[in-house]
């Protein structure tokens, strides 16, 4: 399967999963399950940065359309897409990741590197998302707790997703 087709399918799949499954699950007021930003995290390493940000905007706006939160998810998604190359640069070994591995995954990056990569970016995404949603630092304890717990929930979901759609390549 070509990379393009695979990413288009992933886009639709993650969007539907987020809207019709994860948004319907109520765990706790402090935990909101977010998985859709995995689309940005799994885009190929060599994608140009403007394209990365525009795809982030597209993904965010599509989700906002379903959730009536115009612009909030788009903001967080673009924010995360902008910071992604920096994090990859920091984490990549000398000479970059193996050239035959085109997309970030547990295999191409190594499990620990991959976990650090997704934790940092998911945390930054949630930071932007919930700060904008709550809008104001009036209840900063609530906000921080929500960010942290939701980040943990998202990480668990991402790891599960990765294990489910394991690509042996």
């Amino acid at each position: 399967m070509s990379i393009l087709l695979r990413n288009i399918i992933r886009f639709v799949l993650l969007l539907l999963l987020q809207v019709f499954v994860l948004n319907k699950i109520l765990v706790h007021q402090l935990v909101s399950l977010e998985l859709y930003m995995l689309f940005i995290l799994l885009l190929p390493f060599n994608i140009p940065r403007p394209a990365l940000m525009l795809l982030g905007l597209l993904m965010g706006l599509s989700l906002d359309m379903f959730m009536n939160t115009m612009g909030i998810h788009a903001f967080a998604c673009v924010f995360m897409a902008y910071l992604r190359p920096f994090i990859i640069n920091i984490l990549s070994p000398q000479g970059g990741f193996e050239t035959n591995m085109k997309t970030p995954s547990m295999i191409s990056m190594g499990i620990s590197q991959f976990l650090i990569y997704i934790s940092i970016l998911v945390f930054l995404h949630h930071l932007a998302l919930f700060t904008l949603e709550v809008f104001g630092f009036g209840n900063i304890g609530y906000l921080l707790l929500k960010i942290l717990l939701s980040t943990v929930a998202s990480l668990v979901l991402i790891v599960l997703y990765e294990l489910l759609f394991f690509s042996r390549k």
């Binding site: 007021q29 906002d64 959730m67 115009m70 612009g71 909030i72 949603e133 709550v134």
Partner: protein, 300 residues
């Protein structure tokens, strides 16, 4: 000039980033306008249809609960019918309990040629969220079926919210579960009153639990009891009076010197499984508004 071009090209990514974020922020804040057109939200045809298909499946699993709530609503309405009361009075002045209970509306109906003031339209809920800080409900009825923004929405057992925006066949309802940003005064509050003492207050959601809301502005001189009913006041043009909002769960004074209670209200509507709602059209709203506006102009 050349330097400027080089500068722009060098930081192109950063400027693109800023541009996109500014677009998002503008969208967020424009969205806060109360009156806005429906496009790019869940009332548009694509997401509306998808939610519709989803609800067709999901609705089946809630049939039992939906039936129960509709039956209990029917029973409640039957109990309010005039024929359920035994009136010993034989003269033509009707004095039954329902009249006292339901205020001017049914008195008007009993008195003779009545003008219809509120028109109820039923609508199917096709999407509902309760775990965000501002929650929306999408319903399958829109402009073509007579839904307009700023209409009140109630469920089988109590107040639900107000219509925010409409498309041809769908509408998005701002749920009562909407926590305003910043100070509590900017919340979506429903004008409410105690059924017993008639004191006026405001019910708003504090963002904590979808089953409970808060009520403020009830003076401390009132004697409250757990389980007292809180109903709509009829002051706003959204809802007729005497619709249940909730029941008092706990109440307390913030400190010794505070003059009003902080009341925790158990909401009458169960937002967890909402399947049908009624959209209330206040037919006399425009007339009232026109009269008020022209009076203000006279004073000026």
């Amino acid at each position: 000039m050349r330097n400027l071009v080089i500068f722009l090209r060098r930081y192109f990514n950063f400027f693109l980033f800023l541009l996109l974020e500014v677009i998002c922020i503008v969208l967020v804040f424009r969205n806060n306008n109360f009156q806005r057109t429906a496009y790019l939200n869940s009332a548009n045809s694509l997401s509306g249809k998808l939610y519709d298909h989803y609800n067709n499946v999901q609705y089946y699993f809630h049939l039992k609960a939906t039936n129960d709530s509709l039956v209990s609503e029917n029973a409640r309405l039957h109990n309010m019918l005039r024929s359920s009361f035994d009136s010993m009075v034989t003269n033509d002045i009707v004095r039954t309990d329902t009249i006292r209970q339901n205020g001017s509306d049914s008195a008007q109906l009993a008195a003779g040629p009545a003008t219809r003031r509120y028109l109820y339209r039923e609508a199917k809920v096709i999407n509902n969220s309760i775990n965000r800080s501002v929650n929306y409900i999408t319903i399958h009825r829109g402009r073509l079926q007579g839904i307009r923004p700023n209409m009140g929405v109630i469920g089988p057992s109590g107040v639900v919210g107000m219509v925010r925006s409409v498309s041809d066949n769908y509408a998005v309802v701002l749920s009562l579960l909407a926590k305003g940003s910043g100070s509590s005064s900017s919340n979506f509050g429903v004008s409410a009153r105690l059924q017993k003492g008639k004191e006026i207050g405001t019910v708003y959601w504090d963002g904590a639990d979808p089953a409970y809301a808060m009520m403020k502005d009830i003076p401390r001189t009132i004697r409250l009891q757990k389980g007292d009913t809180i109903v709509t006041s009829g002051f706003s043009a959204l809802f007729p009076e005497n619709l249940p909002i909730g029941y008092i769960d706990t109440f307390s004074l913030a400190d010794k010197s505070s003059t009003s209670y902080t009341i925790r209200v158990k909401l009458a509507t169960n937002f967890y499984n909402l399947q049908y709602v009624y959209v209330i059209d206040n037919l006399l709203k425009d007339e009232q508004k026109q009269l008020e506006d022209s009076t203000y102009r006279l004073i000026k």
